[in-house]
Amino acid sequence: MPIDLAAFEALYESHGARMKSLALNVLGNRSDAEDAVQEAFLRAYKNRHSFRSDAALWTWVYRILLNACHDIGRGRAARRDSQTVDADFAADLPSPNGDNPMRLTLQRAVDGLAPIYRDVFLLCEVEGYTHREVAGILEIPEGTSKGRLFEARRQLKQRLAGQMARAVCKVAPT
């Protein structure tokens, strides 16, 4: 079955919001996130003839999205410093669960993860994909996805515990 523009539009309708959210969490600001989503769709469209029909189109486009995010992130690292990115996070978007300080703390901790752990954490824990789906997106075995999520959680808990301890020290009376 040929993949035409309508197929990509349907994909955008069903996955666009989560794709933007994923890109936002990787890149840290809405503008870059939208650029990454746009680039992912265009790359996918231009190379649609190389798409293997035995795989799911959406997992393929997600994989391209992550590559686009990494490319944009590398380009941005050359021209912007991390302080600007933090400022972007501060100019925050509404979150369904509120709790901005905790979210910012967690966001910074997630930023500190290596990409292989960060991507699995964002896909599983933030965007709610199953290990089977994440395995399809990243082209890794399900067991590897589970292992990476475990390691991501372990590192995050360690970092968050450290940050909480520092926060307690700051507010504790001397």
């Binding site: 523009l5 990509f8 539009e9 955008y12 666009g16 919001a17 989560r18 933007k20 959210s21 936002l24 969490n25 809405r30 939208e34 650029d35 989503v37 746009q38 680039e39 769709f41 265009l42 790359r43 469209y45 231009k46 190379n47 190389s50 391209i64 590559n67 490319d71 380009g75 021209r79 978007l93 509404p94 979150s95 369904p96 669960n97 509120g98 709790d99 905790m102 979210r103 967690l106 966001q107 997630v110 954490f121 964002l122 824990e125 933030v126 965007e127 709610g128 959680r153 995050l156 808990k157 968050l160 515990a161 909480m164």
Partner: protein, 210 residues
């Protein structure tokens, strides 16, 4: 939320982490995003279509050339008829030429030199045409990459390509006015080489896109 404690608390912390992670999911409206993506896809289709038409045009030209060769026996027959008709006249003309007054040797030499220069120039122009064709082909191959969303590198390369094309147009116009100017031709060749290098850089751009 606490981030230290016993093994039982470990499970609680996983749940708390999972709950906090969900707060990282954010949604916002982007009414212009899909129209922009769709426009990019349509633009890609148009470029691809134009490339296909150009390739079809080349094939058509080749077919026309083949068609001419298929009629070569008619051409040979016509040439034979012309030779039989003009043969006696040509012999008379040759006799007149041999027995008639001889032209000035200096004028002949000058004419020969002039013809040699023309031959050399024609050879150069043929080489230039082949080089230009090769670069046109490279331009066609690079077209999809030129159509990719802007990145600082691609914008830079695209700007350079535009400047090169402008320079090529100016040099070609100048050469049309002065065909024997070797300096202009060397400059034009150098600019073409720049264009080739730029196109190759564009071709190499984002080879790991997928």
């Amino acid at each position: 939320m606490t981030w230290n404690g016993s093994e039982r608390e470990q499970d609680v912390r996983d749940e708390e982490l999972a709950a906090a992670a969900q707060s990282l999911h954010r949604e916002w409206d982007s009414p212009r995003l899909w129209p922009s993506i769709a426009a990019g896809m349509r633009a890609h289709d148009q470029v691809a279509e134009a490339g296909l038409q150009a390739r079809l045009g080349n094939v058509q030209t080749r077919l026309n050339v083949n068609g001419l060769w298929q009629g070569r026996w008619q051409a040979l027959a016509a040439a034979a008829v012309i030779a039989i008709t003009l043969g006696p006249t040509s012999w008379l003309g040759w006799r007149w030429f041999m027995l008639g007054p001889k032209p000035d040797r200096a004028a002949l030499e000058e004419r020969r030199q002039r013809l040699l220069s023309e031959d050399a120039l024609a050879a150069i122009e043929r080489s230039e045409a082949q080089y230009t064709q090769a670069i046109d082909e490279l331009t066609r191959l690079a077209a999809p990459r030129l159509d990719m969303p802007d990145s600082p590198l691609l914008v830079n390369l695209r700007d350079r390509l535009e400047a090169i094309d402008t320079a090529i147009a100016e040099y070609r116009a100048e050469i049309a006015r002065n065909r024997f100017n070797a300096h202009l031709r060397r400059q034009l060749l150098w600019i073409y080489q720049e264009k080739r290098r730029t196109l190759e850089q564009i071709q190499e751009y984002a080879p790991d896109a997928l």
